[in-house]
Every structure is written in structure tokens, then in C-alpha cells.
Amino acid sequence: MAFVRINNVAIRGVSACAPSTIEENSEYPYYERDEFRRISPILGVERRHVLKKGQTCADLAVKAAEKLLSDLKWEKDSIALLVFCSPSRDYILPDTACLIQEQLGLKNSTMAFDMNLGCTGWTYGLTTVCSIIQTGCIKRALLLNGNMGSAENAITDKTAYPLAGDMGSATAFEFDENASPIWCELGTEGQKSIVIHDGGRRNPVTQDSLVLQEYEKNVKRSRVHIEMDGMDVFSFDLKRAPLSFDAILEFAGKSKENIDFYLFQQSSFYAVKKIIKKLKLPIERAPLSLKNFGTTGASCIPLTIVTELSDRIQSGKKTFVACSFGVGFSWASVCTSVENLVVSELQFMD
């Protein structure tokens, strides 16, 4: 476990943007008759928002950022760091963050780069961004995150497609000598239990990469879609999340009773419920966004703040633990307090 403590940085605001188009899992074409009703209590996802062809999750993140900057009344010139973290970036080159710098109209003296992590994209992104600005040379930064489940999963794979939704989010950070510390705990167990085999340099794309292979009935995907070992992923989630959660509380010198909200990565409803139960946490302080949006990867935690906590987190000082885990395997927990956090209303993109 790597421990990082960051001083002098405040989280100022959070926003998210969903595509307008909704797909209902009760109408998913590759479930057998009655299958959705039977697995629904375990699946936990009733609907997802999906992008149209030609749109990307970066588009969603940009729209979220525009709204957040407006709500914060921040001049674009005041931002000097932009990170876009998502496993679904617009191009292999150049970094999507560079194109977003231009699109958002940020000044040229802005540091902009991509990070690739998925499930841990917000916590690792936050740790990175805050580490850079904590000396005050750069005063304001944006972390944009995105997820594109509809593209990363094959629609013909009933074990994957109905779980993941499309989403974009933006989080704003500012140098502030009066800010509460940000404690972070991060780690890695490198494995390909969640993998897209082809398209990187190890296995370049060939015509074979695009062929849909049938693994069982209604489980068809190609080598450019996500393949997941569900048992290994669940086993990792169940083991690591509670360890990380306990470690961050110990590092921050807090007990779970001091914490107002627990924000868990929601890769699967079954897993997150088991983790909450294992940690004996009160469910009303562990909100979930999974039911209406699916698992949204790097945007999951900011989305959950927007949809589930906007009425409870914006006033006064609130302390939360964010606990993320997933593809890599990678994990990270963050503990901090926010004061008068600005949470934008959920945006939609046609």
C-alpha cells in the first residue's frame, strides 16, 4: 500500500454529464424470457445512458466541465492543469486532454495530459492532480473522467453489456492553505482478469480481432471488447476494498463513525453490497448510483456525489471516504473533508 498525504488543496466542485439516450435492461435483447427478472436483484442495474455513434465520453466530460466552471464562476484563464483520466480516450495520440484544452478554451500555459485508469480513475486522478498543485505554483486544476461501457463491451455479451453505462464528469481543485488534508492509500495487483486483448502494442489489431466469438449462449464478444473473469474480480473486490477502507481510516486517524459518507466504486451491485455488509456500514451513508446509470468506471464516484448527495454534501463541512478498486487490478481510497462543495445539477447531452 502506498500512502500519500496532500496538504493545502481543496476539492471545490463536482459535476457530471450523462447521454440523453437511455437503454432499459428489461428490454435488453439477449436476455432469455424472465432472465432479467430473475437476475435483477443481483444485477442491480435497471437502465444505462448510452452515447450515440460518433460521440465519446470526453464530450460528456467537457460538457460537465463547462457547467462546473460556470457554477464555480471560475475564469478559464485561472486553470493551469487539466487531466483526463479514462480507459476510453478519443485517440491513441494525441492525448485527449490536449484537445480538451483547446476545446474548453483554456490558456496555452496549461499542463494537460491523460491517465488511463478505469475504476480507480477518480481516486488516482485526484491523488495525481492534488500532488501537483499542493505547492501552490498552480492554483486551480480540473480532473475530467469518462467511461464508455457501450463501446468497451460487446452488446452481444449478456455478462458485460447490461452492467456498464456511459458517463463523463469533472472535478475542480484549488490551492488553499486552510484546506483539510487529503489522505490517499493506493495499490496494485497486476493481473489481466479484466482485459481488452487487442488494440495495444502487445497484440495489434488484425481482422481476427474484430470477429465475435461465442463463449456460451448470448455471450459473444471480440478481442477488442472487455473480457472479465467474474470470479477473480469479485474475489479481488471482496478482499481488497475492506483492507483499503480500514487502511485509509487508520492513516487519516479517523474512525468510521466520524465519516459522513462512504463512496464506493460500484463495479457490481452484488460486490458493493457484500463489501458494505462486511464493513458493517450504515447503508444510508453509502449511496449508490448503479441502478439508473450502471457501472460508470472512472466517473462512478463523482456521479454518485451528483445524483445521490447534492442535497446532503453542499452545506457546511462534510467528511467522506472514497474507496475504489478494479481493472489493473488497481485500488485506491481517499479520505478528506469538503466545505461548501459546489455540486452541479446532472447535465445531459443529446
Partner: protein
């Protein structure tokens, strides 16, 4: 940790299978009801009841319930 208790806990992961069909020598992956969802229930049970982590490879390697019991017992 006793074998009988383990078999009982294992049997409890199944909703539709007659209890007498599940014993220590059952090739559990051949049961009609066996699925990745039941597998996750078994992984969660082993974590909750025995504080042991088992993974996909363990489930793939074990043939009988007793095989799985031996794997878990070695890690207690």
C-alpha cells in the same frame, strides 16, 4: 474447521437443488444450478465464514466439494 459444516455452508448457496444431491463427493460444477452467480456466493461464503480468499483458479481446479474444502482449510 469441519468438513460437514463446510458442506452445509456450500449447500446453502443453492436455492433449487435437492440437498441430498450435494455432499462432499459431488462434482459441484456439474450441478444444473451451478453458475457464475453461485460461484460468487461460494467465494463470499468462504470469505465471510472462514476469512479465506479463493479465486477463479481455485474453483476451476476443484472437482468435488471436498477438493474445495481442502483448498480453504490450507489457507485458514
Amino acid at each position: 474447521m469441519g468438513l460437514n459444516d463446510f458442506v452445509d455452508s456450500f449447500r446453502n448457496q443453492f436455492d433449487e437443488t435437492a440437498p441430498e444431491l450435494i455432499n462432499e463427493n459431488t462434482n459441484f460444477k456439474e450441478l444444473d444450478e451451478w453458475s457464475s452467480l453461485v460461484a460468487m456466493g461460494v467465494i463470499a461464503m468462504v470469505d465471510e465464514d472462514y476469512a479465506v480468499t479463493i479465486k477463479g483458479e481455485d474453483i476451476r481446479t476443484a472437482s468435488t466439494v471436498k477438493d474445495l474444502y481442502e483448498i480453504v482449510k490450507a489457507r485458514v
